[in-house]
Symmetry: C2
Subunit: 199 residues, 2 copies
């Protein structure tokens, strides 16, 4: 199943094809593709090149590890994410290495790294569903997370599957149209709320 | 000038070619390309699809606006960013629209939107230099930023220029090799610090 963005101006195929499905095929993610996902995250930009991201990963071919990572998600996500063959938790290092001060861009830069990973995934016909619905305290305990790191998101990664495999309520969300704010709602020039001439 | 990532595993060209130069050509960014940059940001994913990003933009063909946006950057960035024909400030809406509660993923999701913009830029032969070095209080005043929004970054966007146009100290940074952490430093499985078998 594909669900391309209904764009007002043309954008690159790797961006318009990206979406966040909940139905995954049984096919595992090849190790070589996982390496390339991780490499893509690695080359994101970051404030002071601090690279404040950490990725904890589990694959379905190691069932105890897959179950352990799945247990870090809220119930509403477990229901469908259990079929994703590759799961990750992302973390942000909240202080700079170079001076120990708080890094207010840590979460932002995790977003940049995950964004890279998602582009690479799309280029390899994989899909990624990012989840804010995670259980930080369980994550801290399960993975012995050191002080100074915050869990940010969960990632469910795999090949797109058949929406009919999903429970009814989730299937409806899977098939609902995609929507976004208008440009007028988020792009300004001159002052707050003023739309640029080009829009 | 190009400065592709020295990758350990192959990644998509749009990710390996991306870098953050400080030298810009005089050529302005075509309005049609600006529209596509904004559209790319628009289609990023976000927590609850809240799209907590706002972009304030200024182009060099409106000099007072360009100068106004430039004045929101720290001195070290103004020196080179003044030659970028398209400047932006990004903002995060810190509370959810749907329930008024704090959105802890606001900065993260701005990162995803900017990541999309950068991919689209790279696909159109543009370069983007993201800057944490901004002046939040000046931004708030200059643009009448409402409560509840935080300035996140500045973006300098344009066509790549000749590094020899830069002051010497900046030119050295422009020509320095790119570096990243090893995978072993940020990818774990089973528990914190343990490297997955595939790496």
């Amino acid at each position: 199943m594909e669900k391309p963005a209904d764009t007002q101006f043309p954008i690159h195929d790797l961006l318009s094809r990206r979406w966040s499905p909940r139905a995954f095929a049984e096919r595992p993610v090849e190790p070589g593709k996982i390496q390339r996902l991780l490499e893509a995250a690695r080359w994101a930009s970051s404030c002071f090149n601090e690279q404040p991201w950490v990725l904890m990963m589990a694959t379905v071919d190691q069932p105890p590890e897959h179950v352990k990572l799945l247990s870090c998600l809220v119930e509403g996500n477990k229901v469908w994410a259990k079929r994703a063959p590759l799961l990750m938790i992302t973390f942000a290092k909240m202080h700079f290495d170079h001076n120990g001060k708080p890094n207010s861009h840590a979460f932002h830069d995790v977003g940049l790294a995950v964004g890279n990973l998602v582009v690479q995934a799309t280029a390899m016909d994989l899909v990624v569903h990012q989840m804010a619905g995670i259980l930080p305290e369980i994550i801290r305990t399960s993975y012995a997370v050191p002080d100074g790191y915050e869990p940010v998101t969960g990632l469910a990664i795999g090949y797109s599957g058949d929406p009919s495999s999903l429970p009814e309520e989730i299937r409806e969300r899977e098939l609902a149209p995609r929507s976004r704010k208008t440009h007028q709602e988020f792009v300004f020039s001159k002052t707050w709320g003023e739309t640029p001439d080009i829009l």
